[in-house]
């Protein structure tokens, strides 16, 4: 399994041609207390960069983009009842959605953990 990161502070775990996507610990800390997450319905086909999910704090709403193109396999239903999972476990239990990966080439140019850390440090 490989984990990639985007400059939009999303992480992507790749297993075969499936990807699991969430937001990073850095992102959740910037957003503050998460109060609501809207995840995409399974079956939705998204192009890379399209709006996929919404994450809300009390005073802000942020879009989560599809980091790659593909079809949504499932959203994380646990977030509906417990949006705080994004704060407490952003990079594990607080995942947003899983999707199929239609073009593995799109992973090129994404960051690995070390590069992402350097990116965050530079902000």
């Amino acid at each position: 399994m490989a984990r990639y990161f985007t400059e939009d502070h999303e992480w992507i775990d790749i297993e075969g041609d499936h990807a699991t996507i969430g937001i990073t610990d850095y992102a959740q800390e910037q957003l503050g207390d998460i109060v609501f997450v809207e995840v995409p319905e399974s079956g939705t086909v998204l192009e890379k960069g399209a709006d996929a999910a919404v994450v809300e704090s009390v005073k802000a709403a942020s879009d989560v983009y599809a980091p790659v193109s593909g079809e949504i396999l499932e959203g994380n239903d646990a977030l509906a009842d417990e949006p705080a999972l994004v704060n407490t476990s952003p990079e594990e239990d607080g995942w947003f959605f899983r999707m199929s990966l239609s073009d593995a080439d799109e992973l090129e140019g994404l960051m690995d953990a070390k590069e992402y850390k350097a990116f965050v440090d530079s902000l």
């Binding site: 609501f36 809300e56 704090s57 009390v58 005073k59 802000a60 709403a61």
Partner: protein, 460 residues
């Protein structure tokens, strides 16, 4: 100037602190072509309180106040007795001169009131939740149609012919720009509502069906069948209530399956005010709460664990979501919501039910009396406190001629539907607790006399 506390000496001292030679220096950014040489021309200078008061009293006297004559107008605005304490309480400066409760620690009065208001509206409508108010019933109605589009991702709304024509006009205006499709026709002057044709119109492209209850002619019909068919096609039922007092006597729209219920709250606490300000009511099912427009007040706790209230779910709103907001509404009708809530508290369930019964009983008796007038028929089989008469002549001229005799006889359908020949003889008459038997007799007598020439013409 009685409203301006700064004195010349203050102004000079402040300019000195600022380091500006004169007041004009503070307006230096105004381009040359927009600078004026003095006060704006063509307007009078300041006036005393006494002079302004006198000028307005003169204008007010040119209007015929409802209190001063028999009065039977309704069609979306109703005359009810508003208790004196309502007006006293809303004039307390802490309510009247407060802003939107953005700092909840020092706005608990407004916030708790809104929480109570939301609860009252939701219970009255039979919905799970309600918001903190909209501008009025007509704009709330359009917002509900937009909300149904967001939820269903469809843009074909079916409007009942019994929906208030102004509400239809507002929806038409907006739909033209948003490319929503509206299915609508004018009402027929018959006893039956248009439930059958609404049922026939629902299909898989339908976002919502919008039904007024009681409708513009005063008719009452069960919405359950429409709700069932709409839901079978994954469409929503929107109920519109322009006379909330009716819900003291009638099954609520929520109980009949309405997903969104909107209304005009003017009847309770607000008064006629020539059409505004009024208060839009907006309730819906819990599952749609994140698609609602407008402000919402929610319960929470403070740092010491004491119960308190805040504005909540604000990410739906324009100040956070900007172009993706559920609506552009910001300022709503806070003080009118307060008036509604106070009046509703004074009524309580018992008072509201009694008020509704009294309205209905008086209306039934008035309808019977007016239907006795030769040439006059009552259109409705069912009604609450408002019904439609079919006159033998155009109702608009009759209304005008009775107004000359200091009787405000009702709303002619010719005024509301100027292009509908078939409706010109319709007169909508509203009767509330403020209407006396004597008022009804005066109207009956005057109407009989006014229709005399028509009868003579008919028999000749």
């Amino acid at each position: 100037m009685r409203y301006l506390p700064l004195e010349s000496a203050d102004r000079a001292a402040m300019l000195a602190k600022i380091g500006a030679p004169d007041i004009d220096a503070l307006f230096a950014d105004v381009p040359e072509e927009a600078r004026l040489d003095g006060p704006i021309h063509g307007l009078p200078n300041h006036a005393s309180e006494m002079a302004v008061d006198a000028a307005f009293r003169k204008m007010a006297r040119k209007n015929s106040a409802a209190a001063d004559m028999p009065f039977f107008l309704g069609c979306g605005a109703y005359r009810h007795h508003v208790p004196a304490s309502v007006d006293h309480l809303i004039q307390r400066g802490e309510f009247l001169t407060a802003y939107t409760p953005y700092q909840p620690e020092i706005a608990q009065g407004t916030l708790q009131m809104l929480f109570e208001f939301q609860t009252q509206v939701a219970r009255l409508f039979g919905t799970d939740v309600a918001n903190a108010s909209m501008y009025d019933g007509s704009t709330a109605c359009w917002e509900a149609i937009v909300m149904a589009r967001r939820i269903t991702k469809r843009s074909r709304a079916i409007l009942s012919s019994g929906l208030h024509p102004h509400y239809v006009s507002v929806a038409r205006t907006m739909a033209h720009f948003t490319r929503d499709q509206l299915v609508h026709s004018a009402p027929d002057l018959v006893a039956q509502s248009d439930t059958a044709s609404l049922l026939a119109a629902i299909d898989d492209d339908t976002s919502c069906v919008v039904v007024q209850y009681p409708d513009i002619l005063g008719r009452i019909d069960d919405m359950s069948e429409i709700a069932a068919k709409a839901h079978a096609h994954k469409a929503l039922l929107i109920a519109v209530v322009t006379e909330p007092v009716a819900l003291g006597a009638l099954v609520s729209p929520g109980e009949m399956g309405a997903d969104i219920v909107v209304g005009e709250g003017q009847s309770i606490g607000v008064g006629l005010n020539f059409g505004g300000p009024y208060v839009g009511l907006f309730g819906c099912s819990q599952k749609y709460v994140r698609q609602m427009p407008g402000r919402l007040c929610g319960e929470t706790q403070d740092a010491e664990g004491k119960r308190g209230y805040v504005l909540t779910l604000s990410t739906r709103e324009q100040h956070i979501r900007r172009e993706k907001a559920t609506s552009n509404i910001c300022t709503n009708s806070g003080l009118c919501a307060l008036a509604f809530s106070i009046h509703m508290t004074l009524l309580g369930e018992k008072g509201l039910r009694n008020l509704a019964s009294l309205n209905h009983a008086k209306a039934v008796r008035a309808a019977e009396r007016l239907a006795d007038i030769p040439g006059v028929d009552i259109v409705n089989e069912t009604f609450f406190n408002e019904f439609t008469l079919r006159l033998p002549v155009g109702a608009r001229d009759v209304v005008r001629s009775l107004a000359d005799k200091r009787i405000l006889a009702g709303v002619s359908l010719g005024r509301l539907y100027p292009d509908e020949e078939a409706l010109t003889n319709g007169l909508v008459v509203a009767v509330t607790e403020t209407t006396s038997d004597e008022d009804v007799e005066t109207l009956a007598g005057a109407l009989t006399a006014a229709l005399e020439p028509a009868r003579e013409g008919a028999s000749a």
